[in-house]
Symmetry: C2
């Protein structure tokens, strides 16, 4: 490269214009690039004299040298990056915590966790973009990734492809999050408490169908073969929508409702109470997620408590899959749903 002569600069301490490389460090320390690499990586297979180490470290510090991860993993032929597409659905506190736990657990195992900015393109399209980064493992929340996508990822060197969603995908390690179980718990609970005309809230908010459909199906399944009925109740997340639903509550003639989650439950409960519907006498209400706010409502909200696998467990699973890439993909059900009975049902 041609050195452009310095323009007369202000008397600042000669700011190095381009990014320092290991070659720059070597030059400054008066050693070869190889030696720099040995020293900075503490390579045990080779002994470097103490004075040399010193000089190298000194030079690196002085230049503010930071190794180039891409170059390193290009040479190494692999990286320790675990890629996790950011979920398409609005995340609640539950999922936030889960992500945080998982990230720190994987960090402890010396992986670099990266959340890839959300999938505009459809799953199998997106998989290509993820594959370009050559992650050692990919952890996909929600639906959207197909068998084609899994194949692309594996062909690009991903040693573990794990889905965390409603269905298994050919070739991937599947952590089945069956939201049917949530609806099933709620439905069974309501039936046990003598309710027979059960409404189920289905949020209109887009991105939530993935959860709401199976939850509804779970309720249906819970009362299949009994005399109970299940009624679908579309509901937007706003007061007007809730008020409209509450206004026709009497004619709907329901004695219970599973409100999708605690937030929708709060919304609907308020509207019902404003309408003079007595809870739980006339209508029982059950939410889901076991948020703090449920305990603060009056009557206290019955809810379905959800438990995702711990971040540590999942991290270990990923690690195992990375180390034994030959192992056939397994399927595990991971969503534990239990009813917390309070006063609204």
């Amino acid at each position: 490269m041609v050195q452009i002569p310095n323009t007369p600069a202000p008397a600042s301490p000669a700011p190095p214009r381009s990014v320092p490389t290991s070659a720059d460090v070597a030059r400054l320390a008066g050693v070869s690039r190889a030696t720099v690499s040995y020293v900075l990586n503490n390579t045990s297979a080779v002994r470097i004299s103490e004075p040399t180490r010193r000089r190298v470290h000194e030079a690196a510090r002085e230049l503010g040298y930071v190794p180039h991860a891409a170059a390193r993993s290009l040479r190494a032929g692999h990286s320790r990056m675990v890629l996790m597409p950011a979920p398409a659905f609005p995340v609640g506190p539950l999922y936030s915590r889960f992500i945080t736990d998982l990230q720190s657990a994987l960090s402890r195992l010396d992986y670099t966790v990266v959340q890839y900015g959300t999938a505009q393109p459809h799953g199998d399209e997106a998989a290509r973009a993820w594959a370009e980064l050559r992650p050692v493992a990919v952890l996909v929340p929600g639906a959207g990734l197909g068998p084609r996508g899994v194949a692309v990822l594996k062909r690009s060197g991903a040693r573990a492809v794990v889905t965390l969603g409603p269905e298994t995908v050919e070739g991937a390690y599947a952590l089945l999050v069956e939201h049917e179980a949530v609806g099933h718990s709620a439905g069974a609970h309501l039936y046990d408490r003598g309710r027979r005309r059960i409404g189920v809230v289905v949020p209109r908010q887009s991105g939530l169908e993935v959860f709401s459909a199976p939850r509804l199906a779970g309720v249906r399944q819970a009362v299949r073969g009994t005399d109970a009925t299940v009624t679908e109740l579309p509901l937007g997340y706003d007061e007007a929508s809730a008020a409209r639903l509450a206004a026709r509550w009497r004619e709907l003639d329901l004695d219970a409702v599973f409100a999708y989650n605690d937030e929708y439950a709060m919304l609907l409960m308020r509207a019902l109470q404003d309408e003079g519907v007595r809870i739980p006498e006339e209508t029982a209400v059950v939410g889901a997620d076991d948020l703090m706010l449920g305990r603060l409502l009056r009557p206290r909200l019955s809810t379905v408590h959800l438990e995702l696998p711990s971040g540590r467990e999942l991290a270990e699973l990923v690690d195992r899959a990375v180390r034994a890439p030959g192992a056939p993909p397994e399927t595990h059900k991971v969503l534990r749903a239990t009813v917390v009975h309070r006063d609204s049902s």
Copy 2:
């Protein structure tokens, strides 16, 4: 590398074992690597015959070829990656939406957005890890990044370093999120409504000090030089903690409280009501964040509505900074806080 002779494999269609490279594509198509590159990148500076293009595309498809992003950006000397450390504080719906918006806005400008797994190490330490990825821009939420960190990032080629937090950092483009304004709005509102003995909730939850301290300071500032008093009220996010606080409410002798945010407000309001404290007559309550749940409480919760800059604006700012890396860093105040007066104050 030594080729290990194939063990007699099941009669599957010869699965390619290693990751296909552009050389493989070239071989299969019977052309050079250069030609493959031209075709797949639609390089306009060079004309490739239609039959050749066809053969290359065909070969790429057949092999399931996916380019190696690291190799590409190594050669190019730069990437289009915008790195955003995952925030250390628990994120609410407000921030979630903000992130999502920002990501899609940046995607539209053809940047790749990546959330880097949360900062275990302290800011300036973490900056080194981020720098290893050689992002073209870094967007840091919250506090924790110091001038040293900024320097490291810039030296590693980051053309834009933007902080989104409570204070400016030497060398970085600062989007000032001044939570003092939140407290100030709430304090002024309460004062205007005739309240003089103001309590301010300070969450015990760790990670929230960054927000709670300035909010408290803002209230203090709003009533400075008046006869009003400000009392700090530490509060854990659980019912027991709230009940304890409510039990000594009468002796605290407060006529108003700014409850940090809507969720803490709900928690405290419930405890106060259970204790028989009338709201707003005896004590006015103001929350913040303007969440749906505030509208559902009775009395309806007064709150401070917060507005962050739109994702599009921020994306454009980043883009501008990337294109004009010489420009001196600016500072902008970006948090708009306005009181939404309802029935609790």
